[in-house]
C-alpha cells in the first residue's frame, strides 16, 4: 500500500502531518524511559530505560521478560495510558497520547478490566459505540466476534459470572471490535486452557494473515516462540535482546531428522551414516508428544464421542 493510500484510507480522523512518516513502521519508540514517581515526585521505580524499538507492519512482535521487567509499562506507554518520563513513543507516526490513533488500535490488558455488570453483548455494544460505529455495523461485529471467541452460549450472562478464561475471551473480542490494524496484547494466554491458548495463537496468526500488526507480551516462552516473528527481551527495564525468533533460536551446529514407520534396526544404520560424515550422535529415540498436544487430542476426542473415556488407540487413529 502506498503512503498516500494509507493516509486516504484512514479518512480525516488521522491526518498524517509527520514528513518522516513511513506507513510501514507502525510503532517507533525513541529513547523511551519511564520512571514511576510517588505523589511528592520522588523516584520510585525506573521501569523502562531508554527503549528503542521499531515494529513494522504485518509483524507479530513479542515482548519477553520476567515479572516486573517493564513489558506492561511499555504497552501502556504506547497507548498513552502513561506519559513517558523522557523519550517518545510514536504509533502510526503519531504521538502516543493522541486520541485519534485509538481508532485503529485494539488493546487487551493484563487482566480484562471490564464492567462486570454488563453482559457480553452489552459490553461489546458499549465498546462499539465508543468507536462511533453505527448500530447495524455494530450488531454484525458483535455477533461475529462472540461467535469467534466461542461465547455464544454465554452472551446474555453478566461478566461477573464468567470464569477467568471466559473473561479473557470477551476481553479479546472487545479488543477486536473495531477491526484494528494494530493489536496490543498483554499476556494474551494467561488464564486460558490449552485449547484456548491454541485458539488464541491461531487467532493471532490469523490476524497476521490479514496483514495486521500484533504486539504481545508474555513470559510464557512457548507461546511467544510459536507465533512471534520477532521478539525483544527485557530485563529490569532494559532491552537485552532483539531479533527474529528463527535467528535467535536456531541451533546452527545440530540437525534433527524425523521419520515415521522406521523399524528399530534402522536406528543403528542411521547412526553409522552420521558417524561416517563426522557428526556426533546426540540421540536417536522415539519422540514424546508434548503434554499440550496430548491434552488437545483428548479434548478433541471427547467432543467427537461424548460420554466415553478416550483411549490411546482412539488417539492414534485421530491423529
Amino acid at each position: 500500500m502506498t503512503e498516500a493510500a494509507a493516509a486516504e484510507q484512514t479518512g480525516d480522523r488521522l491526518v498524517q502531518t509527520n514528513p518522516d512518516y513511513d506507513p510501514d513502521v507502525i510503532i517507533e519508540t525513541q529513547n523511551l524511559t519511564k520512571v514511576y514517581r510517588d505523589f511528592w515526585g520522588r523516584q520510585k521505580v525506573r521501569a523502562l530505560k531508554a527503549l528503542d524499538l521499531e515494529v513494522r507492519k504485518g509483524e507479530i512482535f513479542g515482548l519477553l521478560g520476567p515479572n516486573g521487567s517493564g513489558k506492561s509499562t511499555t504497552i501502556k506507554l504506547l497507548l498513552g495510558l502513561l506519559f513517558p518520563t523522557s523519550g517518545r513513543a510514536l504509533v502510526f507516526g503519531k504521538d502516543s497520547t493522541e486520541t485519534t490513533k485509538n481508532e485503529r488500535i485494539g488493546y487487551l490488558p493484563e487482566e480484562s478490566y471490564l464492567y462486570k455488570f454488563l453482559t457480553a453483548e452489552e459490553t461489546l455494544d458499549f465498546y462499539g459505540r465508543l468507536f462511533d460505529m453505527p448500530s447495524d455495523v455494530r450488531q454484525q461485529r458483535i455477533d461475529s466476534l462472540i461467535e469467534k471467541v466461542g461465547l455464544t452460549w454465554a452472551k446474555r450472562r453478566q461478566l461477573k459470572e464468567y470464569s477467568k478464561g471466559m473473561t479473557r475471551r470477551i476481553g479479546l473480542a472487545q479488543a477486536l471490535i473495531n477491526d484494528p490494524d494494530l493489536v496490543l496484547l498483554d499476556e494474551p494466554t494467561s488464564g486460558l486452557d490449552p485449547l484456548g491458548t491454541r485458539e488464541m495463537k491461531d487467532m493471532i496468526l490469523e490476524l497476521k494473515s490479514q496483514n495486521k500488526t500484533v504486539v504481545m507480551c508474555s513470559h510464557l516462552l512457548a507461546d511467544v516462540q510459536d507465533v512471534c516473528d520477532r521478539i525483544a527481551i527485557l530485563y529490569q527495564g532494559e532491552l537485552k535482546e532483539l531479533g527474529a525468533v528463527d535467528d535467535l533460536l536456531q541451533v546452527s551446529d545440530e540437525t534433527s531428522v524425523r521419520a515415521r514407520g522406521l523399524p528399530q534396526e534402522a536406528h543403528e544404520e542411521i547412526a553409522q551414516v552420521i558417524r561416517k560424515h563426522g557428526g556426533d550422535v546426540v540421540a536417536i529415540e522415539n519422540p514424546r508428544t508434548t503434554l499440550e498436544e496430548l491434552f488437545l487430542n483428548i479434548v478433541r476426542e471427547s467432543e467427537e464421542r461424548p460420554g466415553r473415556r478416550a483411549t490411546s488407540e482412539d488417539r492414534e487413529q485421530g491423529s
Partner: protein, 656 residues
Amino acid sequence: MVVETFPEIMTWLFGWQDGPGAFYIFLLLVVAACLFGLFFGYLVAAFRHGPGEAFYVVAKVVANAGPDWIRISPRRIFAIARLAAKEAVRRRVILIAFIIFAVALLFGGWFISGADNPERVYINFVMWGTQLLILMMVMLISAFSLPDDIKNRTIYTVATKPVRTSEIVLGRVLGFAALGTGLLLLMGVISLLFVWRGLSHSHEISRAENGEVVMSEVDPFTTGHRASENAVTETTTSLDSGHRHWVEIIEDVRDKDAPPPVNMDSVISQETRGEKIVYRRLNVTHEGGHTHKISYSDGGYDMSDARGFFRARVPLYADQLVFYDRQGSPRRKGISVGDQWGYRGYVSGGVTLSRAEFYFSDFTANRFDNADKLPLELTLGVFRSTMGDIYTRVRVGLQFESVPAEGDEETGNRFRSELLEFESQEFDVQVKAIPRKLPGQVFAPNGELIGSGIYDLFDDFAANGNIKLIVRCVDENQYLGMARADIYFRAADQAYWWNFTKGYMGIWLQMMIVISLGVSFSTFLSAPVTMLATICTIIFGFFSDAISKFAVPDVEGGGPIESLVRLITQKNMGQPLPDTLGTQIMERIDMVFIGMVRSVTDIVPNFSRLDFSDFLTYGYFVSNDRLLVAACITGAFCVGLVFLGYFSLKTRELAG
C-alpha cells in the same frame, strides 16, 4: 416570609447599578481562571518535565482542547452516560434514597397532620426531604464513579478507545443528570400526591335533632373569634385533621333592589326589613391557611373539601413606605410606642395628620386578571393606650391617591378616594377585597376640586401605573403598626403546578451543580475527599450571601488583623487607631484578605439563590426572573466545573 423585589434578568446580567452585572463578573472570572490555569499548569509541568519542556506540554494541552470539544460524538457521550447511569443504579444508592423517602412520607404524615399550618409543614417537609436525598444521592454517585473506574482499571479499556476526555467528563455529568432528573420527577409527583392527600379533608357541623345548626350561647361580639364584622352568632365544626373552624352566621344587609350576595349557596334565611333585605349567610373562618365552602339545603349543611391550599400568590409590594407624624411631617420610621419599636412603624389614631403612605408601581389591570375586586392583604399590629378592653377592634382607614409621574406634577389631575373603613384584626392576615371602582374626588394640580364620582383604580387613579395607599388609624388613642411588607395587593395567582415545578427546578439546578462538582473534583481527588470537598462547597454556597455581607471593606472594627489588634490592645471598635506605618500595613493586608474572601464567595455557587422551597412553603410564586437567574448561575458553574474536570483528567496519567 417577605418576597423581595428581584432584579430583572437582563439587569442582573448586564446592569451596572450596584456593581457590574453578573455577566461581566463571569467574563472576568473566566479570564482569571484561564490565566490561573495556564500558570498552575505550567508550574506542574515544569515540576514534572523541567521549565523548558513545560512550555511545550502546556501548549499541547491547550491546542488539544479545541478538537476535544469540537469533535465530540453524541453516540459516545450517550454510551458513557448510559453506562454511568447503569453503574450508579447498581450501587443501590438510589434504591436506598428512595426507600428513605418512602418511609419518611409514610411516617411523616402522622406527625404533620394537626400542625398549625399543615400546608407549610407538608411542603417544607417534602421539599427539604427531596432536596436532601437528591443532593446526597448525586453527590455519592458522582464522587465514586471516576475514582472507581480508575481503581478497577476499567478506565484502561475506555481510554484506549477513541474517546475524548471531554466525553468522559460530559458523559458522566449527563448520565447522572438524567438519572437524577428521573428520580426528582418521581419524587416530585409522589410528593405532590402525598401533600394533596394529606391536606384534603372536610368537617361536620354539630346539629340538633331537628337538623338546625347548634349555635353557641356566647355573644360573638366578645369572644374574639369573630372574623366577620356582621356576624351575629357562631359555632365550631368537628375536629378533623387536628383543627376546627368557626362557623358564623352573618347578616348581610342590602338595599331592596341591590343584587343578592354572590354566594347564594350559603344563604340560610332572608327577611325584609323596611327598605332593606337581610340575608343570613354562613361563613367558615380561615384556619391554618384554608377554609371550606359551606352549602345549605333542606337536608342540612355540607362542607366542601379544603380550599385555599395550593396557591402561588403573587404579592405586589409597595416600593416605598413613608410615615407621617401627627404634625404631618415625613419620618423614616413611625411614631415610637415604646417597647413595640422595632420592625413595625406606628401611626397614631384620631384626627391627626399621622399616616402611612405606601407607594405602589406597575399597578395595572392585567396583573389582576381584570378583576372587579382587588385582594389587599394586611397584617397590622395594634398598640392600645386604653387599658382593659382588648376585644374592641381598632378601626383602619384606607385611602387611595394617584401619584403623578415625575415631571408631570404640574399638569396631571389627582384622584383621591373616600376613606374605606374596617375593623383591624390583630395577629392575622386580613384579606380585604378592594372594589376596582371607588367613590372619590378629582383635584387639579393646583389643589382645586374638579369633580367627584366613581372612579376606576386602574384607568383613573393609576393611569400611569403608580398609586399611593394611605393608611390611617381611625380610633383615637390607639396606634396601628405596619411595615412595608405588611400590606400588599395580591395580583392574580399563578398556576400552582407551574410554581411547584419551578420549586423542583430549583432542586434540579442544585443537583446539576452538585453533579458537576462531584465529577470535576473526582478527576483529581479520591472519592471520599471529593465528597468532603463537595459538602464544603455546598455549605459555603448556602452561606455565601452572609459571608459576603461581612466581607465589605468598611466593616466596623476592620478586617481580621485589625480586629485581632483591637482585641489584644482592648480598643473599642469605633476608636480610631494611631496613624502609623504599622496600621497602614495592617489595613492593606486586611484589604487583601477581604478581597480574597469576596472573590471566593464569587466562585462558589450561591445555593440560597437556587433554593425556592421557602416560596412554595409560604405559597408565593417564584418569578421567572428568579428562575432564569438561578439557571444562569447554574449554567456558569457547570460549564466552569466541566472544563476544570476536563483539564485535570486530560493531564492525568490514567495508569499512574
